[in-house]
């Protein structure tokens, strides 16, 4: 029996430093490891003994791409713990910020990290020759996302502007109007992307049934945050119960913890959200979803990129409607804390899936912190897909370019290695 080991390292065009190791014995895959090659950063440990302000400054450093999601999840957790009730307007500003991040992250992933695969290039810059228009527009879209992140975050990455109870500085009306106008201008490109994707063949060699999880929006519409999780088995769980919902364990081949639901791998991220929440879409986002969605989404993670394209449309539309609301509103005050001791769990949908920050605060200092990042949630599922996909490929003798095919699966999930590499099991007595 021949034994073959495929190691892809470093994994290109993902955020952070990772690799894949696949062991093939005969026509069976005996082992799959998505390896996280970055060192542990012990963030949950780092914030212990810190003030909430320091927490808010430190935790976005877990990951640059979704730094504002970390900030947002932390804010939701900390504000619960400290009895801060933010005004609705502040909530809207937070949404604006969050949509900016979704646009930035999705456009980076879709056009620059994933699309080169679909179109057969090493990178997006190489793609520019033939798809110059797309690349230029995509840069513009990403820049737009960044602009919102900078406006609300304070700078492009790790801005300190979102603070407990509000923002250090709010954008001017003029800036808001400019943002809205730009969103309107970019919407047609986001829709054109839907058509571009609709024309692509998605390989079916790696299809397999799985489960999905995401936050349930607090209103009737589609959104990226909530107080409950909904799952593809039709259940709902309060976010506070996250520890019973997502069971975590440590594995030796990565510094990331792994999560399971119902004892099995599950998927989070754009694809999970669209699958679970697509009935809530309206407007052009609904139109986009109708064009792309099909039943294979349930079994094929490569469609995550399609889901991201739909969410781009949704977020651009959201930006427009949020700005409309903000233009009518007064400047909110920064809400103050009402207690120095408490606990709280915040959950948001980061671009690549559900993100949980849970804190215990005593006398104004953090005594316990737990973060679960999307990558930690879906890594098991990534491995499961590689295994199934790999076995299908072996069965059909399609060994050519097998590394690329594996890589594509990992990239489809848009894993965030930095996010996952901070994770540790902290034991407090």
């Amino acid at each position: 029996m021949s034994k073959k080991e495929i190691v892809i390292e470093p994994l290109a065009r993902v955020e952070g430093h990772g690799g894949i190791r696949v062991v093939i014995e005969g026509n069976k895959i005996s082992d799959v490891e998505v390896r996280i090659l970055e060192g542990p950063r012990l963030f949950e440990e780092l914030v212990v003994g810190k003030t909430p302000e320091e927490d808010l400054s430190i935790v976005p450093r877990i990951c640059a791409i979704c730094n504002l999601s970390h900030k947002y999840a932390a804010l939701r957790g900390l504000e619960k713990a400290l009895g801060v009730t933010i005004p609705n307007v502040t909530q809207e500003y937070r949404h604006l910020m969050h949509n900016g991040e979704i646009i930035e992250s999705h456009s980076l992933h879709l056009y620059f990290l994933a699309l080169p695969d679909f179109l057969g290039y090493d990178n997006a810059v190489a793609m520019a020759d033939k798809y110059g228009d797309v690349v230029v527009k995509a840069l513009q879209l990403k820049k737009f996302g960044n602009k919102i992140m900078r406006m609300m975050g304070g700078r492009m990455i790790h801005g300190e502007n979102p603070v407990l109870g509000g923002f250090g500085k709010l954008p001017s009306k003029k800036a808001l109007i400019a943002i809205k106008k730009e969103a309107e201008e970019l919407l047609p490109f986001a829709m054109a992307t839907i058509d571009l994707l609709a024309g692509l063949e998605i390989p079916n060699h790696i299809e397999r049934e799985t489960q999905f999880l995401c936050c349930k929006p607090t209103h009737e519409g589609y959104d990226y945050y909530g107080e409950f999780f909904i799952t593809s088995d039709g259940k709902e769980h309060p976010v506070e119960n996250y520890k019973e919902v997502i069971i975590e364990r440590t594995v030796s081949h990565s510094f990331a913890k792994r999560g399971t639901y119902n004892g099995a791998p599950f998927t989070v991220g754009a694809i999970a959200r669209i699958i679970l929440l697509r009935d809530r879409l309206t407007g052009q986002a609904k139109e986009a979803c109708d064009k792309l969605f099909n039943e294979r989404w349930h079994r094929n993670p490569l469609y995550n990129n399609f889901a991201q394209a739909v969410e781009q449309v949704f977020s651009l539309e959201s930006v427009i409607s949020i700005v409309d609301k903000l233009l009518e509103s007064d400047t909110p005050e920064i809400a103050q804390r009402t207690t120095e001791t408490g606990s709280g769990t915040g959950a948001v949908e980061a671009p690549r899936g559900t993100l949980i920050h849970s804190y215990k605060i005593k006398d104004g200092k953090t005594t316990y912190a737990d973060f679960i990042t999307p990558t930690a949630m879906f890594l098991d599922d990534v491995e499961a897909f590689i295994r199934t996909g790999g076995e299908n490929l072996l069965a059909n003798n399609q060994m050519e370019n097998i590394e690329l095919k594996f890589e594509m699966i990992v990239r489809a999930f848009d894993p965030c290695i930095s996010c996952s590499a901070h994770l540790v099991e902290v034991v407090y007595k």
């Binding site: 090659l37 542990p40 963030f43 450093r61 877990i62 640059a64 492009m156 500085k169």
Partner: protein, 261 residues
């Protein structure tokens, strides 16, 4: 005028590497939409795994390395990069000072923490080591501080290296930019700010948003630590509190400044 000037500098071979960190510095370069295509056009990009497949790992004119050294594998990797690169640039707070993951540097409790965290039984396929900046292992030619780095400062350095010129450093504190941005000094309201002790280059974003500088550019050599601590203490903060805060992004580099306080 007759010029025999060479028209353009030869394209340097560049490698961009990410070690342990948030990838924010690499991302910042990718995020520089207006310049990204120009950048790829003016260098010979050999390896930039976050942006492109099929890296070529050979001799380099300049290596930009982000992140701290936090595993034994990374230690080997930085030694290898140093061997191959004529110029090595430490990019971002993690590479320059160790990053937030190095905030407890000096407490000698890393092993303890790690054990507490993962238990005694887990054996990793690569060995984690306490986060250290690049210059704990190899000689670094230039530093790009910041968490994350700033575009303007980064591109000023990168373009100089493209032209084979020596980059300039910024020996001025955050306060310099704070005043250029016409920002009200937080210290005058008896509010915490680390600006005078922290290297400028971020365009004083935090004070410009009415928020204190938390020190993510790392310490500035000329900082008057003693007096600034005294001033912050007069606002009702304890020395312990100030020390803890300045350590958040101070990593390895801050320790020498805190020695004689």
């Amino acid at each position: 005028m007759t010029t025999q000037e060479k028209k353009a500098a030869p394209k340097p071979k560049i490698g961009v590497y990410g070690f342990t960190g948030c990838a924010g510095d690499q991302l910042l370069i990718i995020h520089t939409e207006d310049e990204l295509l120009n950048l790829f056009g003016s260098v010979d990009m050999q390896s930039f795994v976050m942006a492109s497949s099929n890296p070529i790992e050979g001799e380099l004119d300049v290596a930009f390395v982000e992140g701290s050294v936090s595993t034994d594998e990374e230690e080997e990797h930085i030694l290898d990069i140093r061997k191959r690169a004529k110029i090595l640039v430490a990019m971002g707070n993690c590479a320059v000072g160790g990053g937030p993951q190095a905030m407890y540097t000096g407490d000698k409790k890393y092993k303890e923490r790690l054990q507490k965290v993962y238990g005694d039984n887990v054996k990793f396929f690569i060995e984690p080591v306490e986060a250290k900046p690049l210059d704990a292992y190899v000689e670094v030619d230039y530093y790009l501080p910041g968490c994350p780095i700033d575009q303007k400062q980064a591109f000023a350095l990168i373009t100089r290296l493209i032209h084979g010129a020596v980059p300039e450093t910024n020996p001025h504190p955050v306060c310099h930019e704070c005043k250029l941005n016409e920002t009200h000094c937080l210290l005058l309201d008896k509010k915490f700010c680390l600006g005078p002790l922290v290297a400028g280059g971020c365009d004083s974003v935090c004070p410009s948003h009415g928020l204190p500088c938390v020190g993510c550019w790392g310490p500035i050599e000329d900082g008057n630590f003693k007096e600034h601590f005294k001033l912050l203490e007069s606002f009702g903060m304890s020395k312990k509190e100030i020390t803890r805060r300045i350590k958040n992004y101070g990593g390895h580099k801050i320790l020498q400044y805190l020695e004689n306080l």
